[in-house]
Amino acid sequence: MPRLTINGGEVEVPPGTNLIEAARKVGVEIPHYCYHPGLSVAGQCRLCMVDIEKTPRPTIACNTQAAEGMVVWTETDRVKETRRSVMEFHLINHPLDCPVCDQAGECWLQIYYMKHGLYEPRMMDEKVHKPKAVPLGPHVILDAERCILCSRCVRFCDEITGTGELGIFHRGDHSEIGLFPGRELANKYSGNVVDICPVGALTDRDFRFQVRVWYLDATKSVCPGCARGCNIDVHVNRRRPHHAEGRRVARLKPRVNADVNTWWICDAGRYGFTFVDDKTRLVTPSRRDGEAVTDVAWDQAVSAVAAALERAAPGEVAVVASAKMANEDLWALRRLLVHRGIRRVGFRIPPRVPGDEDAFLIKADKNPNSLGAELIGLEGNVRDLLAAARARQVKVLWIFGHDLFESALPEADVAAALRGAETVIFTGTSANATSERARWVLPAAAWVEREGTYTNFQGRVQRFRRAVEPLGQALAEWDILGRVLQALGAEATPPRAERWFRELAAAVPAFAGLTYQAIGDAGVMVTR
């Protein structure tokens, strides 16, 4: 392994490591635009110049591999002057429209100009004009004047998705990013080009002009869109609630996890959060009598549900759990089932259309926690369970989250099962055709409104954190189930998600030894 010295600090790096990554290891940041650790080296932006002893001129760090005995200096006068000159070139034709640019506040032209530029502008000629506000596809919009031609987006489409939609056309100062005429940027991962664009050239059609980025707060989370559980940051707008029509979750951004999603997420996950602030959200517990729906207090709903469970024999209760619930919720449910001796349970509802899957990130199972539900012991045959309800053998049918009418189950069978059960309870975040047939509706907090963990298809237990308060009176499922357990006379139930997880880790061998601390930001594998 080559040992080298960077700004006087010694570091040993694996062979093939370039100088940008080697410098990171000693806490030295080498400014760059075109280099991205997830993409090939282009050497396009020329900003990452460093001085290497015994070489006559500054050298680009991205395309220079660390070598034994190399002595690198990143802050010499010559390097600083080179950076200033490169910045000046990058900004020659840049429109400097920061006040109306959505990238402002997270733009590397702004950041590096303040850190490494700060020259007196000398540009006197008319700037070259290029296409502006060009929609490239459903999610991405291009301003070619702001582009610095780093080619990250082009390389992303070539190397990551293999779709090759983008190119750099024409030459010299007329060069511009674009699509083959008549095509669009509509691959399943297109939103990532906005993340990797270091400037305001590619912006997000969903997010732009909604809220300034400096009003956003970021919370570490996990995408609930499929069984992979890509690591994400949830960006929420708490400080300007009057912007973006009350939308609290402004956007989701991928968070690096080398073992799960590397730098990327798919578009389905990225834009799949809109239900959180949707009008269909359930916000108060309610009771339905025929057509009439009455809002009730939590205490009332909980004691009614507990009473219904107590009235029924264990064999007359059936539970359709959901693999969209967190491990903590599923463990709370498992405790309730054991407490009452209930055996009719299941969580796998066949989807109406099979989920799409690819060889990259997207998994066909659109639930984030199927493995967790399996390990916690909630496997069961939902078709049998619903058949029992149709045969009027089920008095209490408790459904979590699912809209059974939006599944591969025959609609008539579902309707008959819901009619056949004496009391239908629905717990979920959003109203649907199933919740509309439930006697009791208990509103659940969305994943961004609470703490919890999912177990992804690999067996990796990953934490998601609360980014916003639950809407209305919604509660996490573990909280709802804990209250019902208490009403049923169970011993004290944990008051926090973390404590439920501790119970789970103590009881289920697969989770043995795991804690929220151990899971950290990157997740930990279950024991299998």
């Binding site: 929609p135 190119g167 030459r171 005429p181 008549g182 059609r205």
Partner: protein, 182 residues
């Protein structure tokens, strides 16, 4: 958030008169011999993509100009994304992306030729052909271009007509040359 200029397609329609992909275009394909030649050219390079320029030149000769369907066809031969062929075609000025005349007249407008009277030559060509620089005569005979230095300063002013250099031009010589074009 529906801003007017967000409307899909409002900005990225191909310029009128230029064949977009939506337009019905005649199917483009090399003859068997041309295809064999393209494959031979590809075999000359360690990476077949090295043959992209010569094959595009072949395509220009075969189809008259490099239309978008031609770019897509060539991309198919190289297993490349059409966007990458478009990159190459837009980079080089000698690829014509619109139909060109049977003859291409390219007048040098660089320093030596300019001082030696290129503006007069261009003016004569424009007057005789009835077109501006960059245009093609209505009968499709001549495309007029003005270009950078063609490395014949000692014979300024000069121009290139198809593959031939015409040197030491005068307006009268220009007339004779134009009359000689079929």
């Amino acid at each position: 958030m529906s801003v007017g200029n967000d409307a899909p397609g409002a900005w990225n329609r191909p310029p009128s008169g230029r064949a977009g992909l939506a337009d019905p275009a005649p199917r483009v394909a090399f003859t068997a011999e041309q295809l064999a030649e393209a494959r031979r050219l590809q075999s000359l390079y360690p990476d077949p993509r090295g043959a992209l320029l010569p094959v595009l030149q072949m395509a220009q000769d075969a189809f008259g100009y490099i239309s978008l369907p031609v770019e897509e066809y060539v991309a198919g031969l190289f297993n490349l994304s059409p966007a990458h062929v478009h990159e190459v075609v837009t980079f080089y000025t000698l690829f014509f992306r619109e139909p060109k005349g049977r003859h291409v007249v390219a007048v040098c407008h660089n320093l030596s030729c300019h001082l030696a009277g290129a503006p007069e030559i261009v003016a004569r060509l424009k007057a005789r052909l009835g077109i501006e620089v960059g245009e093609t005569t209505e009968d499709g005979k001549v495309t007029l271009q003005s270009v950078e230095c063609l490395c014949a300063c000692e014979h300024a002013p000069m121009m290139q007509v198809d593959d031939r250099y015409e040197l030491g031009l005068t307006p009268e010589k220009v007339d004779r040359i134009l009359e000689g074009l079929r």
